[in-house]
C-alpha cells in the first residue's frame, strides 16, 4: 500500500514538472522581449502591373484590332511575340519597333472608318494629342506647349484569307498611351558625379539624370537601375558628368536579404583606379532615390568575389549628406546697391567690405560658394568682384558693355553672357585668371538674357529673350570647357513672359512667368520637364532665389522678401524691407 502510494506520488510529481516545463500553453505567454527590427519584403523590386497582349480574334472589327495592336505595343517589350500576329506578312517585314516611343494622351479617339474598296483596305486613324516621346536613351521629352500636339496615325487594315482584319500599314515605332507609360515605366533618377575622378578638384556632388525606365518583369528593378546607371548619362549630360562605372560594366545579379543588398558586377572594373566614394555615392543615391534597398547596406562584388583584393566594397545605408549638397542656407539680399545678410533675428545687416556699402552702380549680385566673394554687374559696364572682408575692394573681372548678371561656378569661376558679342565669358577671380571665352555654339545668335550655373557646376540654364528657357551642360574640362547639350526646357507664348529663373537644386529650375492672368512660379524638373506649379500670391513677384527647399522671392511693390513654405504651400514675408533681390550662394 505504502509502495503504491509512493509510486503515485512520484508520478504526480513528474506530471507536474512536465506541465511546468511546457508552460501549459501551445504558444508561450509572457514578455516584453526585445524584437529584432528586421526589414521585411524584397527591397530590390517594385510592385508593377503590365499589359497582357492577347492574340487577335477572327471576329474582331477594325477598331478592336487596332485596340489590340495598341495593347500589343504596350506589351511589346515584355512579349514581342503577340504584336506580329496583328500584322500582315508585308507589315511584319516593313515595320520596326525601334526609335523614339511616341506617347499620346489617354483621350485619343478613333477617326472615321474609311474603306477603300479598290484596294480592299480599311483605314482607321488614331487621333490624339502627343504628350511626349521617350527617346532611345530613356529620356522623356514632353511636347512643348508651343508645338502642335495633335497627331493622326492612320492604320491600314486588310482582311486575310480567313476574313479576319490584319494591320497592313502603320507608322514605324511604338505608340503608347500615357496610361501605358505610367503602367510600364517608372520616372527614375540616376546619379552621376560632377566631374571625372581624375579631375582636380575631385567630384564632390551628385548630378541627377532623370529618365523613364521600363520595368523589366524578368529582373529586379534595382538591377534595371544599376544596369542603366552603368550605361552612362543621357544626352543632356553626355560629356558633362563623371561615371565610376567603366564602359562595358554589367550587372550579373542583385540579391536582397534582411539587412543587405548584394550587387554582383562584371566588366572591366579596375578596383585600384576606381574612385570608391564616387561609386558608392552613385549606387546609393540611384537606388535610394527610387525607394530601393532603403536602410540596407549594399555590398558590391566583382565577378562574384570581393571587389577589392583587400576586402569588400560596402556602401553604408545612408549617403553622406555632402554629396547631395548641404549648403548653409544663409540668405543674402541686395538693397539700394548694397548686399545684406539676413540675420537669425530677421533683421538684415550689411556685409563687410565694399559690397555692404550702398552704391547705385551695382546690380545683379552673386555670392560665391565660400561666401568670400561677391560679384555684381556695374551700371558702367563689366562684372566686378569684391572680397567679403573689410579690406576688399571692387575689381573688374569681366569687362563688357552688355553682360548678363554674373553667376558663380562652384570651382570659383564667374560666368556671364556677353550679349554684345554673343558669347559666354568666364573669369577666375580667385586665381586671378582673366576673362576667357567659352564655346557655346548652341547659344550663338540667341538673345540670352540670363545665364545661371547650377550649384553642382554641371548644368547651366539660359533664358532666351523672355519666353524660352534652355538647359545645357558644361562639358569638357579646363581649357576645353564648352556649354552644350542645350534643350529647351520651357517656352511661353501669347504675350506671357519669363521674369526670372533660379536653380533650386541640381535637377530643378524655378521659373517665374508673368502671364496675362497673373504670375506663375513653376518648378521644372530639368530631366523630364515635369512641372510643379507653386501657388501664387496676390503680390507681384520680381526676383527669385532658391536653395533646396528654401524658395525666396521679392515683391515688386513693397520690396519685401517672401518665403515659400512647401508644407503650408503659402508665401510668408520676411522682416527685411526695401529688398531688390534675394540671394543664395551660387545658383
Amino acid at each position: 500500500m505504502t509502495r503504491i502510494r509512493r509510486l503515485g506520488g512520484a508520478a504526480a510529481f513528474a506530471f507536474t514538472m512536465l506541465l511546468a516545463g511546457t508552460g501549459c500553453a501551445v504558444i508561450p505567454v509572457g514578455g516584453p522581449f526585445p524584437v529584432d527590427d528586421a526589414g521585411s519584403g524584397d527591397s530590390v523590386t517594385v510592385p508593377f502591373q503590365r499589359m497582357l497582349a492577347v492574340a487577335p480574334q477572327p471576329d474582331w472589327g477594325p477598331q478592336q484590332v487596332v485596340e489590340g495592336l495598341l495593347a500589343a505595343m504596350a506589351a511589346y517589350d515584355d512579349d514581342p511575340s503577340v504584336l506580329p500576329k496583328y500584322l500582315t506578312e508585308e507589315a511584319r517585314r516593313v515595320w520596326k519597333p525601334d526609335g523614339a516611343i511616341t506617347v499620346i494622351d489617354n483621350s485619343f479617339r478613333f477617326g472615321e472608318l474609311v474603306e477603300n474598296k479598290e484596294k480592299n483596305e480599311t483605314v482607321l486613324s488614331i487621333q490624339g494629342n502627343k504628350i511626349a516621346q521617350i527617346n532611345e536613351d530613356d529620356t522623356y521629352v514632353p511636347v512643348g506647349s508651343s508645338g502642335d500636339p495633335k497627331i493622326n496615325r492612320p492604320i491600314t487594315l486588310v482582311k486575310d484569307a480567313n476574313g479576319a482584319f490584319k494591320v497592313n500599314g502603320l507608322q514605324q515605332g511604338l505608340l503608347l498611351t500615357d496610361a501605358d507609360v505610367r503602367r510600364a515605366y517608372r520616372p527614375t533618377n540616376l546619379y552621376y558625379l560632377n566631374g571625372s575622378s581624375g579631375a582636380d578638384p575631385q567630384p564632390d556632388r551628385l548630378v541627377v539624370d532623370r529618365l523613364r525606365l521600363r520595368v523589366d518583369p524578368d529582373k529586379s528593378f534595382a538591377q534595371t537601375i544599376v544596369e542603366r546607371l552603368a550605361e552612362g548619362p543621357t544626352s543632356g549630360l553626355q560629356g558633362a558628368v563623371g561615371n565610376e562605372f567603366p564602359e562595358g560594366a554589367r550587372v550579373r545579379w542583385i540579391r536582397s536579404s534582411e539587412d543587405r543588398v548584394v550587387i554582383n558586377m562584371g566588366g572591366p572594373f579596375n578596383p585600384l583606379d576606381t574612385y570608391t566614394q564616387g561609386l558608392q555615392a552613385q549606387l546609393r543615391a540611384s537606388l535610394s532615390s527610387n525607394n530601393l534597398a532603403n536602410g540596407r547596406t549594399l555590398e558590391v562584388l566583382l565577378d562574384g568575389e570581393q571587389f577589392f583584393s583587400s576586402g569588400p566594397l560596402t556602401v553604408p545605408a545612408n549617403l553622406p549628406e555632402s554629396w547631395l549638397g548641404s549648403e548653409d542656407k544663409q540668405v543674402f539680399y541686395s538693397s539700394g546697391g548694397a548686399v545684406f545678410v539676413l540675420g537669425s533675428d530677421g533683421e538684415g545687416h550689411p556685409v563687410t567690405g565694399p559690397a555692404g556699402q550702398p552704391s547705385q552702380g551695382y546690380t545683379g549680385f552673386a555670392v560665391s560658394k565660400d561666401r568670400d566673394r561677391i560679384a555684381a554687374r556695374s551700371a558702367a559696364g563689366g562684372i566686378w568682384v569684391t572680397r567679403h572682408s573689410p579690406d576688399g575692394r571692387w575689381q573688374e573681372s569681366i569687362p563688357g558693355a552688355d553682360l548678363t548678371d554674373p553667376s558663380w561656378h562652384r570651382d570659383g569661376s564667374l560666368w556671364t553672357f556677353d550679349r554684345q558679342n554673343g558669347e559666354v565669358i568666364r573669369s577666375h577671380p580667385v586665381v586671378g585668371r582673366g576673362p576667357e571665352r567659352v564655346a557655346a555654339p548652341a547659344l550663338q545668335g540667341l538673345n540670352v538674357t540670363s545665364l545661371r550655373m547650377a550649384r553642382n557646376g554641371v548644368r547651366v540654364a539660359v533664358e532666351i529673350g523672355d519666353n524660352r528657357v534652355q538647359v545645357g551642360a558644361l562639358t569638357g574640362g579646363g581649357g576645353n570647357a564648352m556649354l552644350s547639350n542645350f534643350e529647351t526646357l520651357t517656352t511661353v507664348s501669347g504675350g506671357d513672359e519669363i521674369v526670372d529663373i533660379a536653380w533650386s537644386d541640381g535637377g530643378h529650375l524655378l521659373v517665374l512667368v508673368q502671364t496675362k492672368a497673373g504670375q506663375v512660379v513653376k518648378e521644372i524638373n530639368v530631366g523630364d520637364g515635369e512641372t510643379t506649379q507653386l501657388p501664387t500670391t496676390s503680390k507681384r513677384l520680381e526676383r527669385l532665389a532658391a536653395l533646396g527647399d528654401a524658395i525666396l522671392a521679392t515683391t515688386e511693390d513693397s520690396n519685401e522678401i517672401l518665403e515659400y513654405s512647401r508644407d503650408k504651400q503659402t508665401w510668408t514675408p520676411k522682416p527685411a524691407t526695401a529688398v531688390d533681390q534675394p540671394i543664395f550662394a551660387l545658383g
Binding site: 510592385p47 487577335p56 495592336l69 479617339r109 524578368d218
Partner: protein
C-alpha cells in the same frame, strides 16, 4: 580450342567467386544466427529497436501529415480569402468602367484612368511605396483587346491548362465557382520551379474575365521540409535512445544471468566450491540463492559418494590383504597335494591340479586387486631407469612365447635399428606389454600378432596388432574398464583377471603416457602404448599411428579422404595424431 578453354576457366573462376561469396555469406549468417541465439541482450535490443522504429515511423508519418494538413489548409484558406477580396475589387472596378463608358459622351473631357489599371494598382500596391505582394495576379480577357493585365512576371503560359479548362467548362454551365490548382511553376526570369497555388475564377462583367492568383508556396514547402527533417532526426535519435535504454536494462538483467551461467559451467567442470554473489532481494538475488543452495547440496552428495567409494576401495584393499595370509596357507597345502597327486586316485589327482590352477589364478587376482588398490590409494610410484624399449619388448615376447605356442600364434616384430631409449619403470612397462601380448594372443584366434616399436624425438611407442574379431564401435574405451569383457559368455582361456588392461592403463598414465586401443569388427585390433622419453614431460603425439597402416592405406585407396583418425579414446583423446 583455346577460347573455349578460356571461357571455361573464366566461368569456373566466376563460379568459384560466387561460391566463395555464398559461402562467406552463409558463414556470416550462421555467425549472426548463432550470436542472435546465444545473446539475450542482443535479442532484447534488436526487438526494442525494431518495435520503436515501427512506432516512430508510424507516429512521424501521422505527425507530419497533421502538420502538413494544418499549415497548407490555413494557407490555402487565407489565399482563397485574399483572392476573393481581390476579385470583388476587380468586379467592382469593371462595373464602374461600364458606367464610365456610358457617361463619357463628351469627347473633349479628359479621360479618367482605366479602372482596370486602378484596381490592379490597388491590389498589387503599385502606387504606394509598399513592398511587392507575395502573390501575383493575372486578369485575362481574350475576347476584348487591351483588357488583360498581369502583375510581376507572371504570364499567360503559367496558367495551368487543367484549371483554365475547368473554369471555361464551368462558365459554359453558368457556374462561377473558384477553383484552385497546385503545381510547380517556373515564372519567367526565375531559375527554378516553385510550388505555386493558383486560384482561378471567372468574373462576368461586360465580358468574361478570367482572374488568376498565383501564390508561391515555396516558403511553406521549405518549412514543412524542415519540420519533416526535424521529425526524422528526432525520431532517429529517439530510436537510438530507446535502443540504448533497452541495452542498459537488458544488461542489468542479463549480467547476473550470465554470471549464473558461468558459475554453473564451472560447477559442471568440477569446481564444487563455486558460488554466486547475492545482492539485494530481487528475483535475480533469489535465483543466486537457489543456485548456491543447489551447488552446496550437490557438493555434499558428491562428497558423500566419494567417501563411500573410498570406503569400498579400502574394503577391497583390506579384504585382499586379509585373504593373502589364509591363501598362503592354502597354497602351501595345495602345493603339497599337487606334488603328491600322482599318488592319488585319478579323481583326487585331477582335483589337486584344478585346485592348483585356480589357486594360481586367485593369487594373481589378489595381486592385481592389491595393485589396483595401490593405484586407488595413490601409493603407486615409479622406479625409473633408462632402458631400450626394444629390450623390454623382446623380454615381454619371450615371456609370452609359451602362451603363443599354445595358441599357435606367431609374433611379427618390427623394431627399429637404433636403440629406443626412454626413462621408464622397467617392471611396469614390461607388465603392460605382457598384458597387451597376452590379450592379442587370446583374441588373435591363432593369427599373427604384429609388434611394432617406433620412436621420435620426444616419445617412444609400441603397437600390438592382432587380427582377431576386433572391437565394436565404442568398445575401444570400454576395454580399459575393470572386469570388462567383450562377450560375457566367453570364457577366459588364459585365466585373465579382467584387471590387466585397467592396470596397464594406470601404469601408462603413471609414466605420463597413453595407452590407446583401436579395433574394427573383422579387422582385429591394435593397442598402442606411447611413453615420453623423459618421464613426466607432456606428450604431443605418438611416433606410431593408432590405426594400422594397412587399414589407413586401404581407406585412402577407396577414395575416402578421411585423414588420420583421432585417438579413439581416453587419455590422449585431445591430442592430434602426427
Amino acid at each position: 580450342m583455346p577460347p573455349t578453354k578460356t571461357r571455361r576457366t573464366r566461368r569456373r573462376t566466376l563460379r568459384q567467386i560466387l561460391g566463395g561469396i555464398r559461402r562467406r555469406a552463409r558463414r556470416a549468417a550462421g555467425r549472426a544466427r548463432r550470436l542472435w541465439r546465444r545473446s539475450l541482450q542482443l535479442q532484447v535490443v534488436t526487438s526494442t529497436l525494431v518495435i520503436s522504429l515501427i512506432v516512430v515511423v508510424v507516429l512521424g508519418i501521422f505527425l507530419s501529415d497533421q502538420i502538413n494538413n494544418s499549415v497548407i489548409e490555413r494557407r490555402q484558406q487565407s489565399a482563397a480569402s485574399e483572392a476573393a477580396a481581390d476579385r470583388l475589387q476587380i468586379a467592382d472596378a469593371l462595373t464602374r468602367r461600364e458606367d464610365d463608358q456610358a457617361k463619357s459622351s463628351d469627347p473633349g473631357k479628359s479621360v479618367p484612368p482605366d479602372p482596370l489599371d486602378e484596381v490592379m494598382d490597388n491590389i498589387i500596391g503599385t502606387g504606394r511605396d509598399g513592398w511587392k505582394k507575395r502573390y501575383e495576379v493575372l486578369i485575362l480577357n481574350v475576347d476584348e483587346p487591351g483588357r488583360s493585365r498581369a502583375s510581376g512576371n507572371v504570364n499567360q503560359q503559367n496558367i495551368p491548362e487543367a484549371l483554365q479548362q475547368m473554369l471555361r467548362r464551368q462558365a459554359e454551365k453558368f457556374i462561377d465557382r473558384p477553383q484552385r490548382y497546385t503545381e510547380p511553376i517556373r515564372l519567367p526570369g526565375e531559375s527554378q520551379h516553385r510550388q505555386t497555388l493558383v486560384i482561378g475564377a471567372i468574373i462576368h462583367v461586360n465580358g468574361s474575365y478570367e482572374v488568376y492568383h498565383f501564390f508561391p508556396f515555396d516558403e511553406e514547402e521549405q518549412m514543412l521540409s524542415n519540420v519533416r527533417l526535424a521529425i526524422v532526426v528526432v525520431g532517429f535519435g529517439l530510436v537510438l535512445l530507446l535502443a540504448a535504454i533497452a541495452y542498459l536494462v537488458a544488461r542489468q538483467v542479463v549480467t547476473p544471468v550470465r554470471l549464473a551461467r558461468q558459475a554453473a559451467e564451472r560447477l559442471a567442470a568440477g569446481k564444487l566450491d563455486e558460488r554466486l554473489k547475492v545482492r539485494g532481494e530481487d528475483d535475480l538475488a533469489r535465483l543466486a540463492t537457489s543456485f548456491n543452495e543447489m551447488a552446496a547440496n550437490l557438493a555434499l552428495k558428491i562428497h558423500q559418494l566419494e567417501e563411500l567409494s573410498q570406503v569400498q576401495r579400502q574394503f577391497v584393499s583390506d579384504v585382499s590383504h586379509e585373504l593373502r595370509t589364509p591363501l598362503t596357507t592354502v597354497r602351501m597345502a595345495a602345493d603339497l597335494l599337487y606334488d603328491a597327486r600322482e599318488d592319488f586316485e585319478p579323481m583326487a589327482s585331477r582335483s589337486a591340479e584344478l585346485m592348483q590352477a585356480q589357486l594360481e589364478r586367485f593369487e594373481s587376482m589378489l595381486a592385481d586387486l592389491l595393485e589396483i588398490s595401490r593405484y586407488d590409494a595413490g601409493a603407486a610410484d615409479l622406479d625409473l631407469d633408462s632402458v631400450d624399449i626394444r629390450d623390454v619388448v623382446l623380454r615381454a615376447i619371450a615371456d609370452s612365447e609359451a602362451l603363443a605356442e599354445r595358441h599357435s600364434t606367431r609374433f611379427e616384430l618390427r623394431l627399429p635399428n637404433e636403440p629406443c631409449m626412454a626413462e621408464v619403470d622397467n617392471r611396469r612397462v614390461e607388465r603392460i606389454l605382457r598384458n597387451l601380448l597376452f590379450n592379442a594372443i587370446e583374441h588373435g584366434e591363432g593369427r599373427d600378432v604384429v609388434v611394432t616399436v617406433g620412436a621420435d624425438r620426444d616419445a617412444v611407442a609400441v603397437a600390438v596388432r592382432d587380427h582377431g574379431i576386433g572391437l565394436k564401435p565404442g568398445e575401444d574405451t570400454l576395454v580399459f574398464d575393470r572386469f570388462w569383457r567383450a562377450d560375457p559368455s566367453r570364457a577366459r582361456t588364459i585365466g585373465g583377471t579382467g584387471l590387466g588392461l585397467a592396470i596397464s592403463r594406470e601404469d601408462a598414465g603413471l609414466h605420463g603416457g597413453w595407452l590407446q586401443a583401436w579395433g574394427q569388427p573383422g579387422e582385429g585390433s591394435q593397442f598402442r602404448l606411447t611413453l615420453p622419453r623423459k618421464a613426466g614431460t607432456d606428450l604431443k603425439g605418438s611416433p606410431l599411428s593408432l590405426v594400422p597402416p594397412e587399414i589407413e592405406m586401404r581407406r585412402t585407396w577407396r577414395g575416402q579422404m578421411t585423414p588420420v583418425l583421432l585417438p579413439a579414446t581416453g587419455d590422449g583423446g585431445g591430442h592430434d595424431e602426427d
